[in-house]
Symmetry: C2
Subunit: 130 residues, 2 copies
DNA sequence: ATCGGTGCAAATCCTTTGCATTTCC
DNA sequence: GGAAATGCAAAGGATTTGCACCGAT
């Protein structure tokens, strides 16, 4: 069933290039449907994900991405922002695989971790344990 | 500081090839240190992760992997088990990258999603929204 | 009339944290 | 001896769920 609430959430996600959390989505969608509840947002996000319309990226809390095309994410270890990386996945043999020994691949997720330009690097790295 | 608790947790994780949750780790470590608390387990897991001694994989709840070598994970969409995929990442140009436009890559994580042998495929797939 | 979706609020459950105490160098 | 880690229990916070109601077929 495609309700107004679900459509509004999906439209919002398809229309932005950020990767909002459920709470952000709730806030944005509420601008159009002021009476929508968090429960409904969570239920619809879960359903949309199950259908493969959106993907979920776990960075501290769940974030959502309306873009399900082949791309990777770069996650800044400091500011926790999620960046899209499009140019990488085309030619890669690994990522064009359809199956592994374990089973058929339905979809994949690649996350690179590091420091973005702004938070750039000087960041102290903890020493390994002796 | 390297305490007995931290060492026991790390040893446990390095010694298994599963990807236990904090709760499982707590249960296992408690066999050797019956008085250890969940708080300590969580604190140490967080610290070990920050030091790069272990990695965290988010599948429903946090799971932990004592193997930080280059490998991917296959996550069964039904039974939620996490499988290691070692043979893929060696030759791949993408995964040997050290940087992206966004910033230097510190580490990465690849997750393939699908159904494992046991849960194998026949599983009904929900239709996309019209 | 029925069935699924919603809103609301309470419940759940994973994870974090404050604090007094203990451990480790 | 003193900084850092622990155990305990309570707090926090994201997500889920029960239930009465509503809306579409």
């Amino acid at each position: 069933m495609i309700t107004n609430q679900k459509k509004t959430i999906l439209d919002y996600l398809k229309g932005v290039d950020i990767h909002p959390s459920a709470e952000i989505i709730y806030g944005e969608v509420r601008k159009k449907l002021p009476q929508i509840s968090r429960g409904t947002v969570y239920r619809n996000l879960k359903d949309l994900k199950k259908r493969g319309e959106i993907q979920e990226i776990s960075v501290d809390v769940a974030h959502f991405d309306g873009d399900i095309s082949s791309h990777a994410h770069f996650i800044c270890k400091q500011c926790r922002k999620i960046f899209d990386i499009f140019d990488i996945c085309k030619e890669c043999g690994v990522l064009n695989r359809k199956k592994t020994k374990v089973g058929k691949i339905n979809n994949y997720q690649i996350s690179f971790y590091g420091y973005c330009q702004k938070c750039n690097g000087g960041k102290s790295q903890l020493p390994r344990l002796s």
